[in-house]
Symmetry: C2
Subunit: 192 residues, 2 copies
């Protein structure tokens, strides 16, 4: 998606060690118009998947999942990383390694909002190693739901997430696929 | 806002001790169409305030702040509760008591995205005691920004937040103001 790629080139920053800073438009400050356009494009790509629910993880997955879900006319569930007091005692919980936190984090979904017969589309901001998305896929599986697709705003293909998710056997879409980041130079997958 | 009130009556649940569970459409599962309608209504109410930025706190403030910001054509910044590695060393930070966590939490904003000359509209999901919103107002003040308004989806007026925020001297709007919750009975402020 050209609009997102141009924004990454303009406002993204390679901090080294594979970390792309997008705090100005995705992760801390959010550009709602861009996020809506991204949601519209992800919705377009997954319109035929027959999803009944969008699933994401707090925190930075919320914005793209919300806009995608709005364009698909579906509810969105965001997995919590700590169990709020409003959640029942019995929940779906899985552990997932967090790069940015350097430890395992919990991903928790209430059985009230994810269950048998649901067709789940996972949306997140980044597809890097795929660890968070694999965690979400395990939650969907445990709930008895069927995974129908995976979408991300930004893919860092050099971290191997797409390969790690291949066994899930569902379509994977990203709006900006980054092949490499070296100094100021960000190269997209199809920029050959 | 009638649509939100009806949804609270239908799907909200009084868990006792002043806790209203809205996990089915605001806080864990989100209804994007309802959230968009709420954002549109908050945007309408604050259109004349001359805001240049919407400010909220992760996690559950993100959805209503994003939709409000989209309808106002503004960027939205969500205060983080832990400092990500992409944030500079020098940040704006304040402490705020969290009811649901039973302890103080940090609210952190990067000086890159909030600064002098900004006119800030604070949007959150709940206005209860007002503690989180007061924390956000302190961050805006520290950054040299001007607070121009405060909006929330749901106000629990019996927790005194509106009174606590009065000293800020800005308009306060909520889309569903709850006067009391007793058993199954949820009474709105204007239901006399």
């Amino acid at each position: 998606m050209e609009e997102l790629k141009q924004r990454i080139l303009r406002d993204g920053k390679n901090l080294g060690n594979g970390i792309l800073k997008v705090d100005g438009f995705i992760n801390h400050q959010v550009d709602p118009a861009l996020m809506d356009a991204c949601g519209e494009e992800l919705a377009r790509r997954f319109r035929g998947a027959g999803a009944t629910k969008v699933l994401t993880a707090e925190i930075s997955g919320i914005a793209p999942a919300l806009t995608t879900a709005r364009h698909l006319g579906l509810p969105v569930v965001y997995a919590r990383k700590s169990k709020p007091i409003t959640m029942p005692d019995q929940v779906f919980l899985t552990l997932s390694p967090s790069h940015t936190k350097g430890r395992m984090v919990e991903l928790i979904v209430s059985p009230e909002y994810l269950g048998q017969g649901e067709r789940v589309l996972i949306i997140d901001d980044f597809l890097a190693t795929g660890a968070t998305i694999l965690g979400l896929a395990r939650l969907a599986q445990t709930a008895g739901s069927t995974l129908v697709g995976i979408g991300a705003l930004v893919e860092k293909i050099f971290e191997g997430g797409r390969a790690a998710l291949a066994t899930l056997g569902v379509p994977i879409e990203s709006l900006a696929c980054i092949r490499s980041m070296e100094g100021e130079q960000i190269t997209f997958c199809n920029d050959d």
